[in-house]
């Protein structure tokens, strides 16, 4: 790809080796990045309730997406893949820090619109990461069961099962 004189060269080391023969490599990643970063970040913030951790997790996942962009760019559900990687990373960090959901700061609800049920939101955040990922993928990222299965790398039957069990937990939390 032709660049304007003086324009910043992004990822110069990679660019030298990869994009000389594949001019769209960096550009296609940048497009994906700008389209998807906030979507995944928002989903993670909602799911885990920690914006700093969510930001770090999405950054980490994006680094990995960039490293494996040859493969990731061919995936039908790239956003789902990044969500999965980010969620796993965040879960690992939470586990490592031993900051389980129950120790998270209280959820700020005063500024949230009426459609947000704080009990329900807290219940979602208390779900196991496996169940929470399915709920977030289905209801917030609006993925089909098939896309959710693909994104999370699990069979569709397991998506159904996890969703079903998560809904039971959420229903109980509201009752």
């Amino acid at each position: 790809m032709e660049r304007e004189p003086g324009a910043e060269r992004l990822f110069p080391m990679i660019e030298d080796q990869v994009t000389m023969s594949e001019p769209g490599f960096v550009d296609s990643f940048e497009r994906f990045y700008s389209d998807s970063w906030h979507v995944v970040y928002r989903a993670l913030v909602v799911g885990i309730g920690d914006s700093d951790l969510a930001r770090e997790a999405v950054d980490e996942a994006m680094v990995r997406a960039y490293e494996g962009w040859r493969t990731v760019s061919t995936m039908a559900n790239r956003e789902g893949w990044v969500y999965r990687v980010a969620s796993n990373w965040a879960t690992s960090r939470l586990r490592r820090r031993r900051l389980q959901v129950r120790r998270m700061p209280a959820i700020e609800t005063t500024n949230e619109p009426d459609v947000v049920d704080p009990r329900l939101l807290e219940a979602v955040r208390r779900l196991s990461s496996k169940h929470r990922d399915v709920v977030v993928a289905r209801y917030l990222l609006d993925m089909s069961e098939s896309s959710t299965a693909q994104a999370l790398g699990i069979p569709e039957g397991t998506v159904k099962s996890r969703l079903s069990r998560a809904l039971v937990e959420l229903k109980e939390a509201l009752s």
Binding site: I14, W37, V46, T71, R95, V115
Partner: protein
């Protein structure tokens, strides 16, 4: 408002309150790349070596572990990216590409029976042909560790393949991948995280449309001292096996991604040298390895809760779609367990239980033990 609608509106409402964060790809990726490289070194406790992934092969006497200077004096080391790998001789055993033999750790002189089976590398013959046409020309130097699951296992470096220092492996046949939890050209990767999760990587095999068709999950511990004799891996509370490291490397393929894990390094006398895992505990001088609960048959810890569970064969699965979902394989054990007015089938594969049911409603009422997963049809 239905529960579905309530969940959707709550999540979307909460998401709409998340402030927009302005971020650019170039800044974030570069910043993260630098930070991550630093963390990797810290996480692995890899000895400080000069990162010189170039054309010049290098072996140096090196002491990879300050715990035991006497045990490692004079050991030849080959640098694979930023990893120091102990080798048997200072010169490569073959060239084009340069291949060294990894130095095997000392054999254990203590009882390892409580740690599960010996899953160590077996001896084999290295060959440039193991790398495949697409890789061999890029290999700067490689260390052959032996055969693992009947496949040759190498770690190798290539000339400056990315903005990060990389270590690659040849394992699982023609698969070549970055060992550090991410992927370059083959894997979805990234699920195992060296900073907080089980070190290793996952290798997802996808069809052309991106659907993951199978997955290999690997646990690895690199950069071990040459006096490490045994690395025992414990997943979800049970030891699954142990390895004697070669070149300071251990690698195990796992049947599932564990919720909890622990890896412990012992010297030849059984003294614990190091450990990492989800439950980090202080080092002890005289560890008593946990005895795995192998007295009960797999699945039996749950099935008796119903008092009605019974072992069945693949032909006893009455529902065709459920049989497809269960996908019985040789070696699987199946248990039919009535619950909540319906039936579930517990499949135990490689010691890992998975519960199946036709009805998601039936299954959702079952109180599964921690770590158990499940699938249903509708």
């Amino acid at each position: 408002m239905t529960l579905d609608e309530k969940i959707r509106s709550t999540l979307e409402g909460a998401a709409s309150r998340v402030p927009y964060v302005a971020t650019t790809a170039s800044d974030e990726i570069k910043r993260r790349g630098r930070r991550r490289r630093m963390r990797r070194r810290a996480a692995w406790s890899v000895p400080v070596v000069i990162v010189a992934v170039g054309a010049l092969a290098l072996t140096i006497p090196f002491d990879p572990n300050p715990r035991s200077p006497a045990a490692t004096q004079g050991v030849d080391i080959v640098e694979i990216a930023d990893l120091a790998v102990a080798v048997t001789e200072s010169e490569p055993i073959s060239t084009d590409p340069d291949i060294w033999l990894g130095l095997k750790g000392p054999s254990p002189q203590f009882d390892t029976s409580a740690l599960g089976p010996d899953l160590s590398f077996s001896a084999g013959e290295p060959s440039a042909g193991d790398f495949g046409d697409g890789v061999v020309d890029r290999v700067v130097r490689a260390v052959y560790l032996g055969e693992l699951e009947d496949e040759p296992f190498y770690i190798y470096s290539t000339p400056a393949p990315s903005i990060w220092d990389r270590i690659f492996e040849v394992v699982f046949g023609n698969f070549s991948g970055d060992t550090l939890g991410t992927s370059l050209n083959c894997c979805s990767g990234g699920d195992m995280d060296h900073d907080g999760g089980l070190p290793g990587f996952s290798h997802s095999i996808s069809s052309e449309d991106g659907v993951v068709t199978s997955e290999v999950i690997t646990a690895e511990w690199l950069g071990l001292s040459t006096d490490v004799s045994v690395v025992a891996y414990q997943l979800d509370g049970s030891f699954i096996g142990w390895q004697t490291p070669v070149g300071g490397v251990t690698s195990l393929s796992l049947s599932h991604r564990p919720d909890d894990y622990l890896a412990i390094a012992f010297d030849a006398s059984g003294r614990e040298l190091d450990r990492f895992g989800t439950e980090l505990e202080p080092l002890t001088d005289d560890p008593e390895p946990e005895t795995p609960s192998e007295s009960l048959p797999p699945g039996a810890d749950w099935a008796p809760m119903t008092s009605e569970g019974s072992e069945i064969g693949p032909g006893d699965i009455a529902i065709e779609t459920l049989e497809e979902e269960i996908d019985p394989q040789p070696g699987d054990r199946l248990f039919l367990v009535p619950v909540n007015g319906g039936e579930t089938i517990v499949r135990v594969r490689d010691g890992v239980p998975h519960v199946f049911a036709e009805s998601c409603q039936v299954l959702s009422g079952v109180d599964l033990p921690p770590g158990w997963d499940s699938s249903c049809l509708d």
